[in-house]
Symmetry: C2
Subunit: 393 residues, 2 copies
């Protein structure tokens, strides 16, 4: 049977010590008896599992003042019950100053009171021990958790580095056009993605994509889109394949390849082709919100367009739109994460508010980003991506 507690008994009278020990053992405690104080002291320092000390106060050759100092330095926190043959004020003062939990005068008349006192001390000691142990467990758990977080974060950071390298240079200047982007992942990896690049002498292809979900599962899918556009650019340059010149054809390819990937991810997209010679834009919208915003001296307006998201159904259909661009303009494409951080409550109001931000500001992406708070966002509820195309004159 497990003992009720671990008792250190100190008394230089061996017979008296043995008698008390027997009584205490009879109560179910494990007892160590020491008749030599120094030995007891060494034992005490080496045994953190002691629960209570029963100590004779009338020990010969013991300076309690010294003992007190030693015990203070030890900070043992083992409760002590002291015994004396005499009920004297100075004895009791010594016991008090030693931090005794209780004091009994021999002969012990009320054994029950002693047993209760021992029990209390043991309980108190065990509570402190449990507190200390639970603290140690917490510290260890925290160390382990920190390790796990570090490992997972490093993994995500590495993934993020890969994703950042997939994004185009920002800004990319092709006078008088400037292309720039901002991508703010809600975690480390983003399901939003954007790209732009020149195609031949006077075209720039671009897209904004928002893959369903966020984090690494969605980020996976952005690789496919990046690869699709890079491939079609290569096919255009080397294989007389002009799929890239048709936003609708590109959306159809994206739709098919997402379905073929078969991982249950879909994406809303805007694909565009800018003709820098004619200053015109072909574009197609695949279920994407907010729709592109065109800002010019005449104000800000949405470039409308309907179409399914890509990666949901085989027979998705898309519309192609053609716009003559103003002499000076800014075209802004955002992912729908932006809508979540706009103040208005419902979508219609959010879209109005969004347009107003553009109308009130000059045609500078930096001002828009600042006004929408994107340069200050630390944790976004959803990924947020923005693509800006500006023409300066």
């Amino acid at each position: 049977m497990k003992s009720k507690g671990y008792v250190l008994l100190i008394d230089d009278d061996a017979a008296r010590a043995g008698e008390l020990a027997q009584t205490v053992i009879g109560q179910g405690y494990r007892v160590e008896v020491f008749t030599d104080v120094l030995e007891a002291y060494h034992f005490l320092t080496a045994n953190q599992d002691l629960d209570v000390i029963l100590c004779e106060l009338d020990l010969e050759a013991v300076s309690w003042q010294e003992a007190r100092r030693s015990l203070r330095e030890l900070d043992l926190q083992v409760p002590a019950i002291m015994f004396s043959d005499r009920a004297e004020v100075d004895k009791m003062m010594t016991a008090l100053r030693l931090g005794a939990s209780d004091f009994f005068v021999r002969p012990i008349e009320d054994e029950e009171a002693l047993f209760k006192s021992i029990e209390r001390c043991v309980r108190q000691r065990q509570m402190r021990r449990e507190l200390r142990e639970s603290r140690q467990r917490l510290e260890q758990a925290n160390t382990e958790l920190r390790g796990t977080v570090k490992m997972l974060e490093q993994d995500q950071q590495a993934g993020r580095q890969v994703q950042l390298r997939m994004l185009p240079v920002s800004p990319m200047v092709l006078e008088p056009y400037v292309f720039s982007h901002t991508v703010i992942p809600s975690l480390y990896l983003s399901g939003d993605f954007t790209d732009y690049f020149t195609v031949g002498q006077h075209h720039v292809a671009f897209f904004m994509a928002d893959v369903s979900g966020h984090g690494s599962s969605s980020a996976f899918t952005t690789v496919l889109l990046k690869n699709l556009f890079a491939r079609k650019r290569s096919d255009f340059l080397h294989r007389d394949d002009d799929t890239l010149l048709s936003p609708v054809a590109m959306l159809k390819r994206a739709n098919q390849e997402l379905l073929d990937l078969g991982v249950g991810k879909f994406a809303t997209m805007v694909v565009g082709l800018l003709d820098t010679q004619a200053n015109t834009l072909r574009y197609s919208v695949a279920g994407h919100l907010p729709q592109p915003v065109l800002v010019s001296r005449e104000g800000a307006r949405y470039l409308r367009g309907e179409g399914s998201a890509v990666g949901i159904m085989d027979d998705a259909s898309f519309e192609e739109h053609m716009v003559d661009l103003p002499e000076r303009f800014m075209l802004a494409l955002f992912s729908d994460g932006i809508l979540e951080i706009l103040p208005p409550k419902n979508l219609i109001e959010k879209e109005k508010y969004f347009l107003k931000v553009f109308e009130e500001l000059a045609e500078s992406p930096d001002e828009i980003v600042n006004r929408l708070g994107l340069d200050r966002v630390e944790t976004a509820p959803d990924d947020i991506a923005a693509l800006f195309i500006s023409k300066r004159s």
Copy 2:
């Protein structure tokens, strides 16, 4: 100036209380004086920031036995110093049983001793408070860390689900051929990837890829490879494009697309095309170790092949090999993660050991997986992937 500690003074003699309060305030403490015990008790229960109680023992109308019980229930752990006009044994016993830290007899002759005693009590109390606070901080940190780990793990799990859905059905039975695979990520996401699928009436294309690094950054790149093979299968079926029938041509495409992705990731690969009619195999190895193992009645041997890894340099070159397959065989492709868990110390010995495992066992993937311990691996130092192609008769 910040006070040295917060003192509760209880004495029903207002004048005496005021005098002691003044002395203690003079030492830099903040003192609350109560002449009514019940009020003091209420104050005590409501003010956890108290550091020490200075309490008159000779209070009128106070049953210390009751007080003791109440205080025990409270478990306040505020140290108390008690005062009495008389140095009597029963007074001191009361103080002791109340858990007093010290006891002074009025008139207090040694004020320094009292100040030291107060200081000790305050220090003791503050240490306990700090202990409790540090425990609370630990608990809070623990909760936050658990939340972070959960969020990151959920993200990785979602990514893993996507990756699992990218893997082919296992086993895929095309009598008398059986295709199966095992992928064990070192974290959640794997940089190892494998795929197999039928091409036309009597071909099966397959590959094993091991992207540099591991985790999400490498897993990203596997999407590109999955997509490349899916695309070329589609091109074969719908566009008369037979790139897929040439392992070398597929490796060249993989090389180019990895370079175009521009994220600094490369991969070792084995690409194969099984002709199920002729029972022949075309394959090409791109820097991959261990090389494919062919097991038949004649024993186990490596299918040799040299070639650069894909995604490193533009002019990578690959060799195509052609093998007539035995009537009954097992072909096993592993990623190099397997080498790390084999007992021998160096690569040459590991390769010998690996071959021996196959030689000693029948042609069953399950037995191989079991013998190599893959069904028991919990944390692998690197991702491990295995692809098995067996012909039963």
